[in-house]
Symmetry: C2
Subunit: 157 residues, 2 copies
DNA sequence: ATGTTATAGTTACAACTGCAACTAATTGCA
DNA sequence: TGCAATTAGTTGCAGTTGTAACTATAACAT
């Protein structure tokens, strides 16, 4: 309210972005749609955030990781991981002990309850992925994999 | 601390997700990386969130939209748009008036200052997009466009 | 005309996130 | 040794976001 400016006329000399053709925008929509669909599924069943699920997923694959290693593998920052772990440990889904030779480091693993959740959620997640890929034919799927490999370059793990 | 469960042994019967090959995860990393790179640029120059930039971008293209229409075109929810607009109007970047025939609706447009920002940011955003696409050859670029068209189906527009 | 339903937009609250500051343990090096 | 610099992880705070509830206006249907 404190800046009563007049609207400028829509001059032809401007070159507005066309969001619907703009790659970053389209990636963002697609990514959010897909991730949200999966998250809905497991949030209905369990009280579990996407961050927490990702932590569980890496702990299912790699055993005895430290919190920092989880952060590296999930591309999340260490604060997010720390908080996710606090909730997961509290809920009895992850077991945390201290590294023998280095008392700073934690040694993490899924509990029995964590594994049960994992074995329930992982197939659901894969089903969603298949559902997305089913919109593409085999050739397109191969190109997509290749393109993502190139775009993610080194960092995409 | 209140649930001292033992960790389960990493049995071979589990089928953990491989995040680094999991499409939703890879999309999420890529999308965040790209969008964040662009956002950094204009957040350094202006105090402007990604949400606000998207609102400005559609107002640059479509004149006299209402808040609801902005929400539709940006695929954001109306609350996010309402808050972005509050800040943009306050900062003198967007002009808001009330629709003649319907006092609920707003009629939005960029101010002169808004246009100047837009004309500064839009080329930067396009440059980032080109930078990403430069990692692909022409054939891959065409496939990517086609694949996104299919995956985004109706809604992505 | 008047009560019901729908729509545009805002507000309130709780959860989440990101950054910086902090503690604790370890390493390096003089 | 012992003190500075690193590293692992947590906490606090400020800003953001998402959901639901709310206000105001308009459309509809009797």
């Amino acid at each position: 309210m404190s800046h009563p400016r007049k609207p400028a006329p829509a001059g032809a000399e401007h070159a507005p972005l066309e969001l619907e053709r703009f790659l970053p925008y389209r990636l963002s929509i697609l990514s959010n749609t897909v991730s949200q669909a999966i998250a809905n599924d497991y949030q209905r069943r369990y009280d579990l955030s996407m961050t927490e699920w990702r932590v569980m997923a890496v702990l299912a694959r790699f055993h005895g990781l430290s919190a920092r290693e989880v952060a590296e593998r999930t591309a999340m920052d260490k604060v997010a991981v720390s908080r996710a772990l606090a909730r997961l440990v509290e809920a009895g889904r992850v077991h945390r002990e201290t590294h023998g030779g280095d008392k700073r480091r934690s040694v993490l693993s899924l509990t029995e309850a964590g594994w049960i959740m994992h074995d329930d959620i992982a197939p659901m997640a894969r089903a969603h992925e298949r559902e997305v890929l089913a919109k593409l034919d085999t050739e397109e799927q191969q190109w997509l994999t290749r393109i993502l490999d190139k775009l993610l370059g080194g960092q995409g793990a």
